[in-house]
Amino acid sequence: MDLHCPSPLLRHETIQMAHGAGGELSRELTREIFLPYLGNSMLNVLDDQAKISLDSGEIAFTTDTFVVAPVFFPGGDIGDLAVNGTVNDLAVGGAIPLYLSAGFVLEEGYPLSDLRRIVTSMAEAAGKTGVQVVTGDTKVVEKGQCDGIFINTSGIGVIREGVDISCGNLRSGDSIIVSGTLGDHGMAVMTAREGLSFQSEITSDTASLSGLISAILDEVPQIHAMRDPTRGGLAATLNELASASGAGIVINEASLPIRSDVQGACELLGIDPLTVANEGKVVVAVPQDSAEIVLQIMQQDSEVSGSHASIIGNVVNDHPGMVIIRTPLGSRRILEMPLGEQLPRIC
């Protein structure tokens, strides 16, 4: 036995099957990688479940699984994405996100240094938005059975009093607002992929929307609907809103905020930026008389929203369930629900 080994983990620089076997190496992985970064009074108990006390009220509960490739991309990685994605799914329902679970599927041979980096970024994202990871799980699969690392997070939040936010609540006359530029995340991941031989400075917009949404709901609790336009981009989100509410939506193409490098990359690759994923943007439907206040709050939030926030269109009685874009030339076209995944494994 090597008595000089300072830490059991240093015997391995990569994930071994035994790290997922529930024995000594599993305990070491938990103690050396997970608890130092994600630990808190509930997680540290290492029971099979977290015991949570909540004030009475309505609870929001959601889950999401992250398989993004590459796991490290400009502006983020699978770790902060896994935290922000689930936090945002809670926040857009009007919930204050509180607790997360984290389940890891790791491939045999995965570098522990990469895992540590990912867990660190999860901890930072969780700390920033005020949620705690209170329970977790790790499984290891044989080499070749998964692509490095997959993460599932589930989340619980408490829904704020006095809000009623749902896709079905869209009403004719509502304004549609987006909180910033569209398509950044999908194109950041796409241009980071192997095989695309052009470089760009596009970074992912992965961020928690919880603070921004809180600020909006403090001022304008009468928001009708909110969605974060992730997979399928704005096109999917608007079609979901139109279809769920049976209302029509008209979008003004000239008002859509799209970075010129994202636009350029999309042109090169033949992709519509409106179908590209975002990971830190929110689409809000609000009665028209409150639209300017929401816009101002977004524009004052320099962290996740900012000056590119824009009122992009409105809800109408015509063409129920359908989204129409008005082009700068004055013509109109249908904004279709995207058919399939243009960019696989972006989150």
Partner: protein, 362 residues
């Protein structure tokens, strides 16, 4: 973005539109050759803005659409071999063969990869010497130089595990076929801007003269397309027919000589089957004899695969401008982008898909 924004300027577009309205005195039918132009026309709603007297006819210039069913079935047959990596542009993956598409083949275990360039496929061959890499080399004069380059490079490096399944087309023979047809549907052409960057437009001068039609090499942005239409209308109205280059920021009369030389070194002119149209003599290219070891059709002996088309699909008439997609009985019913019968419903450049996607849904 320079070279883009100024060609999307709504004020400029409206000024040209007004000139078109002022110039046109009777009905005219104009064909835009290229699927990229069709897409831009429908996406920007240019057809809604034109005077009723101008009928736009959508041409056969979508490579995914005209690639014949047998090429797809041959690709599927090759892709299902365990030693093969089939590399293709993404659009081809959803085009249905007679049984399935390449995406389905991939889900069943075939190694099908999306690339943005044939040189990427070549890199896969270089990195995987124990695999056979087959590139689905489709397209018009625009993709031919890259596909030729990949074969030339493979020959130079001795990469014998690389080959191409070639389905390469040329525009001028298709134009002549359309102009010779009994149903005379087209009185003027917007020539495909990107094709002309390679070929130049010298060859179009004899076509314009012989068939007495205006041919205008045109770009892809709204201002480009409207300028092209205005030029064709002015030529038709004045009777001064010929070729006029409205895409002079990238197209010259001579084209790209280096690219054409590379193509001629590797490929030779041959008859080609166009999906929905049939065989057009001397309308395509195939690998020359000295490069036959890079010809996947020969390497995998798939030339005997000759399937039948769906009887419902009228894409051939759509591709020749004889009918608009809405006039096909299957449009939006048996045939949708999610469950397409013919290729024009699949590709982003396909006329049927553009109609379905943007505004002409049944």
């Amino acid at each position: 973005m320079k070279y883009i924004d100024e060609y999307r300027d709504p004020d400029r577009a409206r000024r040209i539109l007004k000139k078109i309205k002022d110039s046109v005195t009777r009905p005219w039918s104009i064909m835009e050759i290229c699927g990229g132009q069709t897409h831009s026309i429908i996406r920007n709603g240019i057809d809604q803005l034109l005077p009723d007297a101008i009928r736009l006819v959508h041409g056969p210039g979508c490579p995914v659409c005209v690639t014949p069913l047998e090429t797809l079935d041959r690709a599927l047959s090759i892709a299902e071999r365990p030693e093969v990596v089939l590399a293709s542009f993404g659009d081809m993956l959803r085009v249905p063969g007679s049984g399935k598409d390449l995406l389905t083949a991939r889900s069943e275990g075939a190694d099908v990869r999306v690339v943005y360039s044939p040189l990427e496929a070549l890199a896969i061959a270089r990195d995987n010497p124990h695999k056979e890499v087959v590139f689905l080399a489709i397209g018009f004069e625009t993709t031919a130089p890259g596909n030729a380059m990949a074969v030339k490079q493979a020959a130079k490096e001795g990469l014998n595990n690389f080959s191409e399944l070639v389905s390469q087309f040329m525009v001028p023979p298709a134009m002549k076929t359309i102009l010779s047809s009994e149903q005379k549907t087209v009185e003027g052409f917007l020539a495909a801007g990107h094709v002309c960057t390679i070929t130049g437009y010298e060859e179009y001068e004899s076509i314009a003269e012989k068939y007495h039609v205006p041919i205008v090499p045109t770009g892809f942005e709204p201002v480009d397309i409207l300028s092209g239409i205005l030029r064709v209308i002015e030529m038709l109205e004045s009777g001064r027919l010929g070729v006029f280059n409205e895409y002079s920021r990238v197209v010259s009369r001579e084209g790209n000589e280096v690219a054409r030389k590379t193509v001629n070194e590797v490929f030779e002119v041959a008859d080609r089957q166009w999906r929905g149209i049939g065989v057009i003599p001397q309308s395509g290219i195939r690998l020359r004899g000295e490069f036959s070891s890079f010809d996947a059709e020969k390497k995998y002996d798939v030339a005997h695969i000759q399937p039948d088309e769906s009887p419902l699909c009228r894409s051939g008439e759509v591709l020749q401008g004889i009918i608009n997609p809405g006039e096909c009985g299957a449009f939006g019913k048996e045939c949708t982008p999610l469950d397409p019968l013919g290729a024009p419903m699949v590709s982003a450049e396909g006329t049927c898909a553009a109609y379905y996607k943007y505004h002409k849904r049944a």
